[in-house]
C-alpha cells in the first residue's frame, strides 16, 4: 500500500478498471450494509422485531460481487445474508427495513416472508425462499433463458457452504456445465452452517467441485474485496463470452451467531470468533482508500452521519408503516387474471 498522494504505482482498483468513485462507492455500500445489519440486531434485541439474520464481515465481498455485475442485464439470486449484495444492486435501506418489520410496502414480499428473503423484479433480484439451494437451478434456468434469447445477461447466485451439499447444487451446476450457460455460482463459505463447522459439512473444498462439472472453480479470500471483484468480473466476462459457468468459493467467517435465535457459544469459542472478527476487511478497505488519497476522516464522519440519518429515517418509516391488510393477505395464490382468456 502507498502513501496518500503517491501515484507512482497503479492502484489495485484502477488496475481492475474500477474508477475512484466506484471504489469509494463500494466502501460506502459496505458501511451501509454493516450499519443496517447492526441496527437489525439492535431492533431484535430491543424486542421491536422478532428476528434478524446477519451478514457481518461478509459484506465487503458481497458488495464487490454486486459491483462486478451489470445491473441492467444480469440476474441476481442472493441468499439471506446478502445485505451488502442487494444494497449494491439498488435495494434501499428503506426496502430492507420494511422487510425487517414485515410491512405491506416491503417490495420483497409485502411482509409475507422473513427478512433476508429478497426479491424485486425491477432490480432483477429473483424472489428467494427459505429451503436452501433451490435458487441454484433457478440461476441455471435464468442463464438458459438468456442464452436462448441471445440476451447479454449473466445469472449470479449465492449460497452457503453448508447449502452446497444439497442435491440442487450438484444438479444445477451440472446442468449449467453441460450447456455452458452464463451463470456464476458463488459459495460464501463462512465455515459454519448453524452449529456445524465446515469439517462436518464436507471433507473437500467447495471450489474443487467445479472440476467434476467441467468448468473452473476458484477460491478467493473474502477479506480481499478487490480480489473478489476481480474474480467475479472475470467469471462474468467468461460467461458473456459464451465460455460457461464459474464456481467461486469466497472464504469468509460468520462472526455472529447463525441468527438472533441461535446461541453460538454452545458450539464454538469466543476466542475463535474474536480471531476472525479481527480480520474484518471493512477497516482495511477504508485504510486502502485513505492511503490512495480517496478517503478522509471528514468524509468518514459525514458518511457515518448520512448513514445514521438514512437508517433512522427508514427505521422510523418502516416501524410506522402498516402491515398488509388481512383482506390482501391471501391474494396472489394464482394470477388474478387468468391467462386462459389470452
Amino acid at each position: 500500500m502507498k502513501q496518500p498522494g503517491s501515484v507512482q504505482q497503479t492502484l489495485r482498483h484502477t488496475a481492475l478498471g474500477l474508477s475512484d468513485e466506484r471504489a469509494v462507492e463500494m466502501y460506502k455500500t459496505m458501511m451501509l450494509a454493516r450499519r443496517f445489519d447492526e441496527r437489525g440486531q439492535l431492533l431484535q434485541r430491543a424486542g421491536k422485531v422478532n428476528f434478524h439474520i446477519s451478514g457481518i464481515t461478509q459484506e465487503p465481498s458481497q458488495v464487490a460481487m454486486g459491483f462486478a455485475m451489470d445491473l441492467k442485464n444480469d440476474w441476481f439470486l442472493p441468499y439471506y445474508r446478502d445485505y451488502g449484495f442487494v444494497l449494491s444492486l439498488g435495494m434501499t435501506v428503506k426496502d430492507l427495513m420494511l422487510s425487517v418489520f414485515a410491512k405491506g410496502e416491503d417490495p420483497n414480499s409485502a411482509g409475507r416472508q422473513m427478512p433476508g428473503h429478497f426479491g424485486s423484479k425491477r432490480l432483477r433480484i429473483v424472489t428467494g425462499s427459505s429451503p436452501v439451494t433451490t435458487q441454484v437451478p433457478h440461476a441455471t434456468g435464468l442463464a438458459l433463458a438468456a442464452k436462448m434469447r441471445g440476451e447479454p445477461s449473466v445469472a449470479i447466485v449465492t449460497f452457503g457452504e453448508g447449502s452446497s451439499n444439497q442435491g440442487d447444487f450438484h444438479e444445477g451446476c451440472n446442468f449449467a456445465g453441460v450447456h455452458q450457460l452464463p451463470v456464476i455460482f458463488v459459495c460464501e463459505n463462512n465455515q459454519y452452517a448453524i452449529s456445524m463447522p465446515l469439517a462436518k459439512q464436507t471433507r473437500g473444498r467447495i471450489c474443487d467441485r467445479a472440476l467434476g462439472y467441467g468448468f473452473p472453480g476458484i477460491r478467493v479470500d473474502g477479506n480481499d474485496p478487490l480480489e473478489v471483484y476481480r474474480v467475479v468480473k472475470e467469471a462474468r466476462d467468461r460467461a458473456i463470452a459464451g465460455e460457461g459457468p464459474t464456481l467461486i468459493e469466497i472464504m469468509t467467517y460468520r462472526v455472529t451467531a447463525h441468527s438472533t435465535s441461535d446461541n453460538d457459544m454452545a458450539y464454538r469459542t469466543k476466542e475463535e470468533v474474536d480471531l476472525h472478527r479481527g480480520k474484518d476487511s471493512l477497516p482495511v478497505f477504508k485504510k486502502y482508500l485513505e492511503e490512495a488519497g480517496l478517503w478522509s476522516d471528514d468524509q468518514e464522519t459525514k458518511l457515518q452521519a448520512d448513514i445514521r440519518a438514512m437508517i433512522d429515517e427508514a427505521n422510523e418509516y418502516a416501524e410506522k408503516a402498516p402491515f398488509q391488510s388481512t383482506d390482501d393477505a391471501f391474494r396472489y395464490v394464482y394470477a388474478e387474471q387468468s391467462g386462459e382468456e389470452l
Binding site: V126, D168, V333
Partner: protein, 328 residues
C-alpha cells in the same frame, strides 16, 4: 373432425404452442432426438432445434428447477418428467418453489411452467412405472393440476396449461396414449382449466372421476343402460386442482347417488376431497352413501400380470360398483 390419438394430441399441442410463441420450449430426459420414451416430443427437436427440445441431464430436481428459473425470466417451459414415478426428486422445487413464487413475492414474480408427467398402470411397468402420484401434489395451493381422459381434452388442456400464468401439472395417462382416440379439431382451441365436463347424461347414478378409469365407466354405463335401463351421469373432473365445485355439486344433484373413481389409491386421493365437498354441501340430497372405487392402498401395482390386473380398475369392477349403487 379428424380422430387422433391421445398421444398425438399432446404432441400437437406442444408443437402448435411452440409455433405460436417463441418462449415455449420443452426440456426433459430424452426429449430430443429420441422424442421422449413414449414419443410425445417426436419431431420437436427437428422442427425447433436442440434448444427448444432440450435434452436435460438425468436430474428431475434440475429439470423442474431450471424450468422455474427460465419461467421467472419470462420463458414458458414445459418440463417433462419421464414417468410421474420419477417426479418425486423434484417435489421440493414444485411445492416449495413453483407453487409459492407468486404468493411469496406478493405478485411481483410468477412461474408459468407446465410439468408433464405420465401417470397410471396397465403397461407392465411394475411398481415404479405405473404410479398415480396425484395425492402428493393435490392440496398444495399455488399449483394447478389437470388430468385429461380424452385426446380433445389433452390437447385443449395442455394448450391452456402452457398459456396459463401459473404452474400447471399436466398428468397424462400413459395407458390412454394409444388406446384413446377421439375427434380433435384442427383449429386452435383450449379447454379451460377448472371446468369439469359431463361425459354422459343420466338420471340414476352419478360417476365422478378423471383420466383413464372414466373410459371404464363409459363402457359400463352403456352396458347398464342396455342391460338394466340404468342411466349413469358421468362427470370428468378434467382439472383436479382447483376442483370445479359447482360442476361436482350439479352432477351429484342430478341423481343423488354418487360413485367416485380413480386409479390413485383410495386413502387421501382426490376422491376424498370430492366426497368431502359433497358431504359438506349436499348431504341432504344424497340417496346413498358416497362410494369410492379406487386403487387399493398398497405402495404400487406389481408387474406380474395377475397382480397388475388385480390392482387395476376395469370395466367389470366399475360396472359392479355402479350397479350396486344404482340398486342401493
Amino acid at each position: 373432425m379428424p380422430v387422433i390419438e391421445y398421444i398425438d394430441a399432446i404432441r400437437l399441442a406442444m408443437k402448435e404452442e411452440m409455433e405460436r410463441d417463441n418462449d415455449v420450449f420443452v426440456l426433459g430426459e430424452d426429449v430430443g432426438l429420441k422424442g421422449g420414451v413414449f414419443g410425445t416430443t417426436k419431431g420437436l427437436q427437428l422442427q425447433f432445434g436442440e434448444q427448444r427440445a432440450l435434452d436435460a441431464p438425468l436430474a428431475e430436481s434440475a429439470i423442474a428447477g431450471v424450468a422455474i428459473g427460465a419461467a421467472m425470466a419470462g420463458m414458458k417451459p414445459i418440463a417433462e418428467m419421464q414417468y410421474s414415478d420419477f417426479m418425486f426428486p423434484a417435489t421440493n422445487q414444485i411445492i416449495s418453489e413453483a407453487a409459492k413464487i407468486r404468493y411469496r413475492s406478493n405478485n411481483d414474480w410468477d412461474c408459468p411452467i407446465v410439468i408433464r408427467a405420465p401417470i397410471g398402470g396397465g403397461v407392465f411397468g411394475g411398481l415404479y412405472h405405473s404410479q398415480c402420484p396425484e395425492s402428493v401434489f393435490f392440496g398444495t395451493p399455488g399449483l394447478k393440476i389437470v388430468a385429461p381422459a380424452t385426446a380433445y381434452d389433452a390437447k385443449g388442456l395442455l394448450k391452456a396449461a402452457i398459456r396459463d400464468p401459473d404452474p400447471v401439472i399436466f398428468f397424462e395417462n400413459k395407458k390412454c396414449y394409444r388406446l384413446i382416440s377421439d375427434e380433435v379439431p384442427d383449429e386452435d382451441y383450449i379447454v379451460p382449466i377448472g371446468k369439469a365436463n359431463v361425459m354422459r347424461e343420466g338420471s340414476d347414478i352419478t360417476v365422478i372421476g378423471y383420466s383413464m378409469p372414466l373410459h371404464f365407466a363409459m363402457q359400463a354405463a352403456e352396458d347398464l343402460s342396455q342391460e338394466h335401463g340404468i342411466e349413469a351421469h358421468i362427470l370428468d373432473l378434467r382439472t383436479i386442482q382447483p376442483l370445479d365445485r359447482e360442476g361436482i355439486l350439479e352432477a351429484v344433484s342430478k341423481t343423488g347417488k354418487v360413485l367416485i373413481i380413480h386409479e390413485d389409491n383410495k386413502t387421501g386421493g382426490i376422491g376424498a376431497e370430492v366426497a368431502a365437498i359433497i358431504a359438506e354441501e349436499l348431504l341432504y340430497d344424497l340417496d346413498a352413501p358416497i362410494r369410492r372405487l379406487c386403487g387399493p392402498d398398497v405402495p404400487a401395482m406389481p408387474i406380474n400380470p395377475p397382480g397388475e390386473k388385480h390392482f387395476l380398475l376395469n370395466k367389470e369392477k366399475v360396472k359392479a360398483a355402479m350397479l350396486e349403487l344404482a340398486r342401493y
